[in-house]
């Protein structure tokens, strides 16, 4: 349901999870201006999943960071879970992320000094949960991602796929409205990638989360509700 050349609307419920209007971002590289997002429009309804594909450096991650309140736009507005992000100061953006967003990064970014379980626990405790409750939630999610036998392993003692599974569990532990995944299988082999992708989409469905996933892997396109390609700063048609 394309509204114009660069707007996509995905309907899976009545509530809008993400609403992006005329989002523009330009990087200055020496004397050259590089516009990675050019008046982008985007809408995602609650419970839907969308995959964003595109060449390296085309602005996929930048878009994800802006939707997650980690980066700011030059112009345009971003509404996520009812919040207009450009109107929030740094502290309120942090509160917003804490409540509404779960991030999964290409590099798992697990805390090396914490065990797998503690990685989940500390994220839950940052949300404001007590240690006991954080541990209970963490154990449930470790079980969901099939790592209940490795809760005390440190990231260095886990394989790449296992680390990414912990990262997925961590993204879900604060029960966010939206999961933003930035090439979560970018560092994995094909077999492991498919395991992780199936797991991620399965959990998103189970916990009824909205998902925006950036990837190069065409396999994922089959799992998402819709697929977009970011090209020359705008979203282009379906894959």
């Amino acid at each position: 349901m394309m509204n114009n050349s660069s707007e996509k609307v995905f309907v899976s419920g009545l509530v809008t999870a993400i609403d992006v209007k005329n989002l523009t971002k330009t990087y200055i590289n020496g004397t050259e201006n590089l516009t990675v997002l050019n008046a982008v429009n985007f809408k995602l309804m609650k419970g839907s999943s969308v995959v964003i594909m595109g060449k390296s450096g085309c602005g996929k991650s930048t878009f994800l960071h802006m939707v997650g309140g980690l980066d700011s736009a030059d112009s345009g507005t971003v509404f996520v879970a009812g919040h207009q992000l450009d109107s929030l100061n740094s502290d309120r953006l942090t509160q917003f992320r804490k409540k509404h967003i779960g991030f999964i990064f290409q590099m798992h970014y697990l805390l090396e000094d914490f065990s797998a379980l503690e990685n989940l626990m500390v994220t839950s405790m940052i949300q404001g949960n007590q240690k006991k409750k954080a541990k209970e939630s963490a154990l449930t999610l470790m079980n969901d991602v099939g790592l209940s036998s490795k809760i005390n392993n440190y990231p260095g003692q886990l394989s790449g796929g296992e680390r990414q599974r912990v990262a997925i569990a961590r993204a879900l532990i604060n029960d966010p409205d939206i999961i933003l995944a930035d090439e979560p299988t970018g560092n994995l082999d094909e077999e492991n990638s498919h395991i992780i992708e199936d797991l991620l989409f399965g959990l998103v469905k189970k916990y009824q989360k909205s998902l925006v996933l950036v990837t190069h892997d065409p396999y994922i396109a089959n799992l998402a509700d819709e697929t977009l390609i970011l090209q020359k700063g705008v979203f282009k048609g379906d894959v």
Partner: protein
């Protein structure tokens, strides 16, 4: 509630980092902890000995010379009634009349020297335990039960060449204005030589029966020397004493020794400042160590910001590590410092015998018995100071976290 929950994850994270293998590998806490421990041990020993020496000196002064308080009375005051009233305050252990004069002491065919003669009750040595405890008898027996007996400070005795049973001549100036300002002489027998260990006192002082001085100077009104149960309650005593009839003025031991008291305080504060420089060096060490720790956890900081930790709370995670260093250093410093200070004389003897074994040189300094006094209040002040300095150093190291841009960190990593 939110703050308590925040503190929960901050402490959890901070402790994990503090005990992590990565931090242990770079030994970021080892040097600062050793620095704080060593600094605190030095402070406790040095200030403990200084307190001991100063307190010993002040004790000698107030027990032998100035008393806890001196009361000047009206000429018509009934001394016995006054003493009863003073006892009613429940603060006074002893009170007695005394006279203090300057004079000259001479040994016939020997030397002569100016002196301070104190006229005291004949039973002073048994009456005032503070007096007898602080005074060391070098030779003879402290006896001033008749007016022809005198006890000399040991240096004074040496200076004029007098010993026990020597006959000395005491000369004091008479009372009144210029016309009858004539010297009075009295021959006396030395019954003892005594010392306090402080040349300023031992060079000048001698003790005689107060009846002698009353006889020599009948118009001079004796003062009342006061010994309290607790000399630190001097202000409470003065408050009560000024209400009693017949008292002209009350001077406390602090007033009487103000310049000395101020000098001792100044000496102690100066030592505090000098020793505290150790902790400034440690603080610099904490700062540079924590800067390394923050740098090595940059990725974690970016991630935790992304999942909802505020930068302010993240600074606390690392500040707590600085405080953990300080707390551990203070703990070891207090334990080792107090144990060392309490046994410092044995330690010095051990060092002395080691030096003697190795070099053959015997140091008298290391054989001296140092008095040590540890004041809990001072330990609290020093420990709080270390915590404050460590907090400041930690804050200086971690404040750059506030300027971190999480997306840039995650992108760079």
């Amino acid at each position: 509630m939110n703050r308590i929950l925040d503190l929960q994850w901050i402490l959890f994270t901070s402790f994990k980092y503090f005990t992590s293998a990565r931090n242990k590998k770079i030994r970021f806490a080892t040097l600062p902890i050793i620095g704080i421990t060593a600094g605190l041990v030095a402070v406790i020993i040095i200030i403990g000995i200084m307190n001991g020496l100063q307190e010993g000196y002040l004790n000698d002064l107030i027990e032998i010379d100035s008393y806890h308080a001196r009361i000047t009375i009206e000429s018509e005051t009934d001394v016995k009634k006054l003493q009863e009233a003073l006892n009613d305050t429940n603060l006074v252990q002893n009170s007695y009349e005394f006279l203090e004069l300057e004079g000259v002491l001479r040994l016939p065919n020997g030397g002569s020297q100016p002196c301070v003669i104190k006229g005291l009750p004949p039973n002073i040595y048994t009456l005032d335990s503070g007096f007898s405890n602080e005074l060391t008898i070098s030779s003879g027996v402290f006896n001033i039960d008749t007016i022809d007996k005198i006890v000399l400070g040991r240096n004074l005795a040496v200076n004029i060449g007098a010993g026990v049973n020597s006959i000395v001549e005491l000369l004091v100036l008479g009372e009144g204005k210029i016309v009858n300002f004539v010297p009075i002489e009295k021959q006396m027998i030395v019954t003892a030589k005594v010392g306090t260990g402080y040349p300023e006192i031992d060079d000048m002082i001698c003790f005689a029966n107060i009846s002698l001085l009353k006889k020599m100077l009948p118009k001079t009104i004796p003062q009342i020397g006061i010994k309290l149960y607790d000399s630190d309650k001097i202000n409470a005593f003065i408050k009560e004493a000024v209400k009693i009839d017949g008292i002209k003025s009350v001077e406390s031991w602090i007033d009487l020794n103000r310049s000395l008291y101020s000098a001792l305080l100044l000496e102690k504060y100066s030592m505090f400042v000098i020793l505290f420089l150790v902790f400034v060096v440690v603080a610099i060490n904490i700062k540079s160590s924590l800067e390394r720790v923050v740098f090595s956890h940059k990725k974690d900081i970016g991630l935790m910001t992304a999942v909802g930790a505020t930068k302010k709370n993240l600074t606390k995670v690392f500040i707590f590590q600085g405080l953990f260093i300080a707390i551990i250093g203070i703990f070891f410093g207090l334990v080792i410092g107090i144990l060392s200070a309490k046994n410092i004389n044995q330690i010095f003897l051990l060092i002395g015998s080691l030096i003697k074994t190795i070099t053959g040189y015997s140091s008298r300094f290391l054989q001296y018995t140092f008095p040590v006094k540890i004041l809990p209040g001072e330990l609290i002040i020093v420990s709080s100071g270390i915590l404050l300095v460590s907090f400041f150093a930690s804050w200086m190291a971690v404040r750059k976290i506030l300027k971190f841009v999480p997306v840039r960190i995650l992108h760079d990593e």
